[in-house]
């Protein structure tokens, strides 16, 4: 039995599950918006604009969720600045939680900048200068940085779990890649659902749906690699009625295979997108609770 079974559960539950889910969507949506901003066409602008809004609101929500989950929420800034050595920066590149705090902050800053640009583009802020900047090289640079930070946000959440000593999470190096792929698929799904409201064209949606299909295939492959890499530990998860079932039926069945089938049959993309979002949420839920629920010592010691 793995040595991870002797550690204690960190009580990362609902707020963190939501944070991981929203962070994945925001990061994925931002990445897709930036790709279309850089390489797309004028007709893709509604998707680009939606993507930056999703990223900005998502980043803000992530910051809030992360803060309310702390035991001492008013000390959230201790992760950014050394509280006893003000104003020296607090940063440990090798600690995903420290790295992540900075990613959330900078992703928030850059995605809000892009969202402000979008507001100028839509005429909601009367600033021709901002609009010109947003559509020019500077705007593209900001978008590129947001996209990289967005993917970092989506992926680091899984790396954070692997860089622990908890069962399942620390028994495989695949969680970061898995959450990142899920961020891409749920980000695309969110854009499929929201971009039509901003006037997205059929062709933009078709591209999103074909990307979503590919992201789901990548996610499925990584999920299989993840489960296999767990070795004998996967039995602890898969044989449990609750979270094993959520993983197999909810995540793989409803969240990946069903939308893939809908995409393949070219059925209404919105239905597929809803299922993808459900699957993305259940993936976080099952991953978190499968490990959170494992009591220390007893399993391994056979006590």
């Amino acid at each position: 039995m793995s040595d991870t079974f002797f550690s204690g559960a960190p009580h990362w539950t609902w707020f963190i599950i939501l944070y991981f889910f929203v962070g994945g969507i925001a990061g994925g949506a931002c990445f897709l918006a930036a790709i279309l901003d850089w390489f797309g066409r004028t007709e893709d602008r509604p998707v680009v604009r939606t993507g930056y809004y999703v990223a900005a609101w998502g980043a803000i929500l992530c910051g809030l969720l992360l803060t309310v989950d702390l035991g001492q929420p008013l000390r959230f800034w201790h992760m950014l600045v050394q509280s006893h050595n003000f104003p020296t920066i607090m940063f440990k590149a090798w600690s995903p939680i420290s790295f992540g705090a900075w990613v959330v902050l900078s992703f928030g800053a850059f995605s809000v900048l892009s969202a402000l640009g979008v507001m100028a583009e839509e005429g909601r802020i009367a600033s021709p200068a901002l609009r010109a900047m947003h559509r020019g090289a500077l705007g593209k640079l900001v978008a590129g940085i947001s996209a990289l930070l967005g993917f970092s946000l989506a992926g680091y959440t899984g790396i954070l779990l692997s860089v622990t000593n908890r069962p399942i999470w620390a028994d495989s190096p695949w969680l970061g890649a898995l959450f990142l792929a899920s961020g891409a698929s749920t980000g695309a799904a969110t854009l499929i659902l929201l971009a039509p409201g901003r006037g997205a064209t059929e062709r933009s949606l078709a591209w999103l749906s074909s990307f979503d299909t590919q992201a789901l295939v990548v996610e499925l492959l990584i999920l299989v690699a993840f489960i296999v890499s767990l070795g004998s530990v996967n039995r602890v998860w898969l044989s449990s009625w609750g979270w094993g079932l959520v993983l197999l039926v909810g995540v793989v069945g409803l969240g990946i295979l069903a939308p893939l089938r809908l995409h393949a049959r070219r059925q209404p993309v919105a239905n597929a997108a809803r299922l993808v979002l459900l699957g993305g949420f259940l993936l976080r839920l099952a991953t978190m609770f499968a490990s959170e629920g494992i009591e220390r010592y007893r399993v391994a010691a056979g006590m």
Partner: protein
């Protein structure tokens, strides 16, 4: 700089009196659980069950009984191992966890913001949240007492000297002698965490055990959480690259389709 200080716990002489648990609670003013109404475990004489934010010492009772007359008790006073390479300290994002001049590991309660990363990082399940402070807490190896030249409350209280406090070098020598003595008596004893070249660079709170490590709730080969960092990060970067390439190839295909469909002209909205 003082010597590295720590505990050597000889589990063979522990009688399970829990004086250490009580002394620790008293000195550190740790609250009672559940308002003082103790829930019994129901399947063991061990009712504390685990280390957490309000139990910094835990006397583990291991009841090995095959029948009413055939069995033995193993007892072990568990505590933070004050690892030379400490997983909790490695991940703490606020810098709340520090290594002191005594080579012990201490959480500064006024810096900790309760993110709980350290709980998942500790290979031994030592840390948990103290609901009174809302922060992560564990044994400080009585840093406040050490500062004024006192020994920790638990080892001071231990009536059998199962818990011994001192400089690590001295404790290791004493522990090895005790292992030799027990072996000469035919007892299969071994030390856990006394080897500076072993897992985590050695533990500054180490143990003498007479059964497998796992039986005492101790991982055989504890590791640092960062062992997964490089692989996990590179897999994530690789998957990001794959998804990026797929997105770009998709866009290119769309453009090619347009060009084909429009007889070589770029169709749809012009490039942006």
């Amino acid at each position: 700089m003082p010597d590295a200080m720590g505990f050597f716990t000889d589990t063979t002489v522990c009688i399970g009196c829990k004086a250490c648990e009580v002394a620790c609670k008293e000195w550190n003013q740790l609250p009672a659980e559940n308002g003082g109404i103790r829930e019994l475990s129901g399947d063991s004489y061990d009712n504390t069950r685990r280390l957490d934010g309000i139990h910094w010492r835990h006397v583990r009772f291991i009841e090995q009984f095959k029948g009413p007359y055939d069995g033995r008790w193993l007892m072990m006073s568990d505590v933070c191992k004050h690892c030379v390479q400490a997983g909790c300290l490695e991940v703490c994002p606020t810098g709340a966890i520090i290594r002191t001049e005594f080579d012990t590991v201490v959480i500064q309660s006024d810096v900790c913001n309760g993110c709980r990363a350290c709980i998942a990082a500790c290979p031994f399940g030592v840390i948990d949240v103290n609901p009174v402070s809302g922060t992560a807490q564990k044994c400080t190896l009585c840093y406040d007492r050490l500062k004024v030249g006192l020994e920790p409350a638990c080892s001071k209280a231990c009536p059998t000297d199962s818990i011994q406090f001192g400089s690590i070098a001295e404790l290791r020598a004493r522990a090895q002698k005790r292992v030799d003595q027990l072996k000469a008596q035919g007892v299969d004893a071994h030390l856990y965490g006394a080897d500076p070249t072993g897992p985590l660079g050695g533990l500054n709170s180490f143990y003498l055990l007479v059964d497998k490590d796992e039986v005492y709730g101790l991982p055989h080969k504890p590791q640092l959480p960062s062992r997964n960092l490089a692989r996990s990060s590179s897999f994530s970067v690789a998957s990001a690259a794959v998804l990026g390439i797929l997105a770009l190839v998709g866009l290119r295909k769309r453009r090619m389709d347009d060009m084909g469909g429009a007889g070589g002209r770029v169709g749809g909205g012009g490039p942006n």
